[in-house]
Symmetry: C2
Subunit: 429 residues, 2 copies
């Protein structure tokens, strides 16, 4: 195909007519497709239904150490669950605390605690004139919502194919002690599916922040969420690397089983240095008598160990892989060579990132919606919902069925074409 | 029995010797008894084991409105669970939000949000020089820990047999706009088992606080936790009463199923006015994608409806009643007429409150411990752990077996006698 920019005005207008007819035809189909969030499909949920059978009234709900999971107690998680999640998070069981059903909530809580109580003895952030966070962009909207909610100023840091622009990160954190954190999804990032390179992780661990209470918010949401058996991204473990670099306290690592077992009914955890955990426990003992140990035990009995969990993730991969491939194939087939968009080809995670021509993303998403396809709102991948290029669109292939997804991607590509033509024509005018 | 104060020094010394011998005998038994917390017994947990069978892999985990409980979504709780907990909390389903596993966590969160974001548009408390809470005493130590953690000044308000001293409450909240809340356990209170009288509730609803962001923290933890079928305390419903009194936004009501199903694996909720809920939802949507809906559904399927829940509570009562009665009987038998202590006789809840002679509580609890009986720490029922009279001791009869409990109470009474004699002798000296 000829790139659109090389086409004449007349050629584009002719093509526009054709595509408009196709769009009308799509509108006639009365579609209701949702690709807005990283929600597992019903098929994926089905593979975890065994969770519902591992604990019955005839089972003993007691831990190896004698803890009755049905009663109060155990603030940081039952031993068995700590072992399982420690293996998943690639840290020692002593370095994790198990929480409730949501790692997002743990991150919220971490920021909230820092606002009211500071970090390991530092001034509470609510007493400071200015608190800032670095936000690699495009990134995860719910991260940005948390910092926005607390009035924390967010500074965009561009993502590169190897992770955030580390020159900029190093420079900013060293120069400004009001910068207290950076949001990271280091593996199969949201939305690009990028995994940070070894060099990036090493540079993170060696940061020299001006603020002693600066922390890396390492949201390892997709740590075992591979698409392929033999092509898996590998990440240097950040806690160990920070320790080696002499910065043991600089990172909080988050994870959950939301996209392993059931979203909303999984278990979440934080991993951090002993100093950080001691600091966190001071809050935790006030905040709760303990999290849901029965659900912790349920996870342990269902997965058995990390090998069981990894085997389980292969079933997820078998469902996710064809969907990712269908998205990429459609984009290549429909948009390849047209120079009106770029996209990522992740080896795991939940998202594919699409970049349209500058100034087109909002219009593309709106056009999809008018034909019955809901995408993540354009701009959502940037702090304050403001994509300075209006170009990034997050594609979430997990929720629709494969036939629906193929249809959705055809419609998406069609909208990209139409909006791009309009954009090019308006520039030519 | 003759009151100890009326006995001569010699009589007391003689008695002291006898009691010391008994105490030695107790020490020889190598007891390990725990009455420190309001933990249900294993027998009580067993009656909820059916919870483990209501959801199996062959069951449909879908709500009536089509919500798949296994997936993300639904911020404020599934409709069925809201109905169940609304009936339990005696409010309309529209007025509640279902949370995770712990109402304590909801209360923490409510204070935390007020610190960082204020209440319905008021100045965030962290920006104020001084924030105060009223604390009816004796009260629940974990309430006091939350306000202490946030640096909120706590003011003691004495409990009376009909609830907090309302003259004092009315006067304080009207005079001081830095008073932002009051901790209440209005039914079968912790630790006294007192239920607020109709007049008390009406006066609460008619408070005229100087602070517009003053809220009553109404922790209705024991709302359906009766000991008897025909002798049940009844409380005027506070949300409705506040609405009638023209103060619809003045109260947050909290409850959970912790002592209905499994502590730590139940579901918690807040009930409040629409204005308050709108304010809370602004935070909630940032904080989480949703709470554990599978566990909500599990509760709904297990209890069916409020009648099922009430029937279930009768089973708890059948286990708790003999324990409460054993405590009261032992206290009456051992201490009746001695004028060295007073105790409450609640008709529900989890605690009995004991008041020793002034200045004796710490010593009594320490003496119990030395013979193998752990009681709640003396002072715990007061803010900052400081009981100005050093007299209040919380008795938690639920956890031990009945034979253990009887033994524990005999030991307790013995320690009260010994410490009281020492105290009286030292005053006579």
């Amino acid at each position: 195909m000829k790139p659109y920019v090389e086409m004449t005005k007349e050629e584009l207008q002719e093509l526009r007519k054709e595509l408009s007819a196709q769009y009308k035809e799509f509108q006639g189909r009365d579609l209701k497709l949702d690709m807005s969030r990283g929600k597992p499909s019903a098929e994926q949920l089905d593979i975890s239904m065994g969770m519902m059978d591992v604990l019955s009234s005839s089972d003993d709900l007691t831990c190896d150490d004698g803890t009755d999971c049905r009663n109060y107690g155990v603030l940081d998680g039952i031993k068995e669950a700590k072992e399982l999640l420690a293996d998943m998070m690639e840290v020692a069981p002593d370095h994790i605390i198990i929480y409730g059903n949501s790692s997002l909530n743990v991150m919220y809580d971490t920021v909230s605690r820092s606002m009211t109580h500071g970090v390991m003895g530092s001034t509470p952030w609510c007493k400071l004139d200015k608190v800032k966070f670095l936000c690699p962009v495009p990134g995860y909207d719910r991260h940005f919502s948390i910092t926005e909610y607390f009035g924390i100023e967010m500074i965009n840091v561009p993502m590169t194919p190897t992770g955030p622009d580390m020159d900029l990160v190093e420079q900013l954190v060293a120069a400004d002690d009001s910068i207290k954190g950076i949001w990271c999804v280091p593996k199969y990032s949201n939305p690009q599916g990028i995994s940070y390179s070894d060099e990036t992780v090493r540079r993170f661990a060696r940061l020299k922040p001006a603020a002693s209470d600066f922390r890396i918010y390492w949201d390892n949401a997709y740590t075992i969420h591979h698409l392929y058996d033999n092509e898996q991204d590998h990440l240097i473990e950040i806690l160990a690397e920070c320790k080696r670099a002499g910065n043991p306290d600089m990172v909080y690592k988050f994870a959950s089983t939301s996209k392993v077992s059931f979203p909303g009914s999984g278990i979440a955890a934080i991993a951090a240095s002993e100093n950080n955990l001691t600091d966190i426990m001071k809050q935790l003992k006030i905040q709760t008598i303990g999290h849901d140990k029965v659900n912790q035990l349920r996870h342990v009995r269902f997965f058995g160990d990390i090998h069981g969990m990894v085997e389980h993730m292969r079933k997820h991969a078998d469902i996710m892989r064809p969907k990712f491939e269908a998205v990429i194939e459609t984009l290549e087939k429909e948009l390849g060579g047209l120079l009106i968009g770029e996209w990522t080809c992740p080896k795991g995670g939940y998202f594919i990132s699409f970049d349209s021509l500058d100034g087109c993303a909002k219009t593309i998403v709106a056009k999809c919606k008018k034909a019955g396809l809901v995408m993540t709102g354009a701009g959502a991948t940037y702090p304050y919902g403001k994509d300075p290029h209006d170009s990034n669109i997050r594609i979430a292939p997990s929720y629709p069925t494969l036939p629906d997804l193929k249809q959705a991607m055809e419609l998406f590509a069609l909208c990209v074409k139409i909006v791009s033509i309009d954009h090019i024509l308006s520039e030519k005018a």
